[in-house]
Amino acid sequence: MAEVAWAIPLCPLVAFVIISLGARRSPGFSAALSIVAVAVSLVLAVGVIADVLAGGHVEQSRVWIPAPAIAGPIVPLNAAALQSGAAPQPFSIGFQVDALTAVMLLVVTSISFVVQIYSLGYMRGDSGFARYYAFLSLFSMSMLGLVLANNFLALFVFWELVGLCSYLLIGHWHERPAAAEAAKKAFIVTRAGDVGLLLGVLFLYWHAGTFAFGDIAQMAADGRIPAGALTVGILLVFCGAVGKSAQFPLHVWLPDAMEGPTPVSALIHAATMVAAGVYLMARTFPILEHSSTAMAVVATIGGFTAFFAATMGLVSTDIKRVLAYSTVSQLGYMMLAIGIGAMSAGVFHLFNHAFFKALLFLCAGSVIHLVETNEMFEMGGLGRRLPLTTITMTIAALSLAGLPPLSGFWSKDEILGAALAGHPILFVLALATVGMTAFYMFRVIFLTFSGSFRGTGHVESHGEPISMALSLVILVIPSIISGFWGMPFAGNPFGRLVSGSAESTGFHPVVATSSVIVALLGIGIAWVMYGGGRIEAGAGLSARIAPLHQLLIRRYYLDDLYEWLVARVFLGIGRLAATFDAEVIDGAVNGTGALTVLIGGSLRRIQTGQVQTYAWALFAGILVLAVLLAGLRLER
């Protein structure tokens, strides 16, 4: 099955093409087509993972641009690389299937599948229904292609496609100014990171002469790439991951991306967009691990982001924003894991996180679908109206908080254990984050489901639509059990599969105990403050620490800083450039035009309008040419 892995992204692509070409006239058919396509991909992905479990590994490449076309001065390898015998390889495009890819395929196809089913109910009656499904298909295709790519070049192409799709989907309700703004913000902010990625890819090619992950990793292992160059290159690549996975300081787009439809948020947060950054770092881990500096940077940024985002999650009153901060925070965890060398733990967390985060979003969507607001202070008491949502969301929140035996516990524990082994400061940060995560998640649960309804107007309880309910039920299962795949008591089969090593990390009783205690503490504080849907205690506390609260509410003023940068600095530079363009460049262009007119005006006098004069000039010209050629021949 792994040999035909290339067909996995092809199915959604076909669906996208057919919908774009005309099936969009029928929304129902478009949706069915899209769901069937992703279902086929899901089946194929299951087949692939079965193959991989049996030890399969496939890598196929095909030449895209042959070497002669890119040889020579166009792609200069640096002198050192040339001396080490590296020659420019042809640009090839290909796919590979290993454990990492297989896991990602499974995650992407299953989450896409569930989200698409969920959207049947959530998006019912939307005017852009078919378009929405077309872009969902394209989104899935891009992400699947991304995880299948076996070199940086192909990866970059799909990387950009993912960015494009997220732009299109976040801005699905583009007639809303906020959605359009959010889409632009997501696109532009991630683009800032993408510049780094592109530079990093080119930089690595400059030194290694190839785009293939495996080849570069091999050269890095052999020490054929200078250590400094390796660090610079991989950190530039990490810039892309920072943008895509919303790490500090490029995290600002993700909370705003909540303007998109909630299922899209689920997809972005769980499987496609933000997972791409973590996947990229996991994929390049064999390169990364040869640079301790880069490792330290990745770990630090990851740990800091985890903590930093969690603090902002403490105070947000928008249910989806809380989830968004939690995503940023959890992604920080994953980066932290990769940065400290526990790559498989990071991927494991990504795997588990995908399911329960998707579930959380779908539950939030269910709530929002009912009350038509994101503000938690206008909810409350929804537990009786949405019993299924309440149960599933509570399970997902427990999983996220890291309580055994739910999936989140196992991966989080593995990461904490790895951090404790060598990075005590990061361990402390991570442990604090665990507590904050538990707190803000249960703040959400209490504010939403318990107590009485605080909003205005009458909310009609109609329960969850069948497709949405089905999706929740489907997702709650892996949210509970997916952690067992990486259970240390079972020898951590997941970790061994992904990292490819035989040894497994052991169980850390101390770490597990402390993290569970901290999590329970967080839940307890949440209960004390918000239990039963009360909001007064929280309000009182925030009034007492008003400056800090304000800092968190204003998201550390980072967005304001960026806005100021854009409004003042960039626009100032832009105005300068505009003036330069209008005065100097346009002046030169206009001057050229004026000069041409001037010359033409004087030259037009030789246009007598007499055909015979022209013919005469023609023959005279031929004559001169003939004489010149004859002269040349005589000279020779």
Binding site: Q607, V611, Q612, W616, F619
Partner: protein, 111 residues
């Protein structure tokens, strides 16, 4: 009457080429000095005939039975016929418009 050309042949390639060049140049004089558009067309026909003589001389003296030169002459003839048809149509249209076929009165495109 003999129907096959004799192998001994006093007329060389250069004879035909010089005849072609002479016709071409004479036609050129006509094309450059005549005022009547129809006369210019006729002069151009003379020039084309000069070219055809050249091609046929080459065909006569070239190796092999392919006769590429004569085929080129056929194409030239085709083009000449097309040129005459379109040229005369233009001349008649211009005459209808301006009551004149003198090329030096047709100078609307003067710069």
């Amino acid at each position: 009457m003999p129907t096959a050309l004799p192998p001994l042949y006093p007329i060389t390639l250069q004879h035909g080429l010089v005849l072609g060049a002479a016709l071409f140049s004479l036609g050129m004089i006509g094309a450059l000095t005549k005022r009547n558009a129809i006369e210019i067309l006729m002069s151009i026909e003379v020039m084309l005939n000069g070219v055809m003589v050249t091609f046929i001389s080459f065909a006569r003296h070239a190796q092999g039975p392919a006769l590429g030169g004569q085929i080129f002459a056929i194409f030239i003839m085709t083009v000449a016929a097309a040129e005459a048809a379109v040229g005369l149509a233009i001349v008649i249209a211009v005459y209808r418009l301006r009551r004149s076929v003198a090329v030096d009165t047709v100078n609307s495109l003067q710069g």
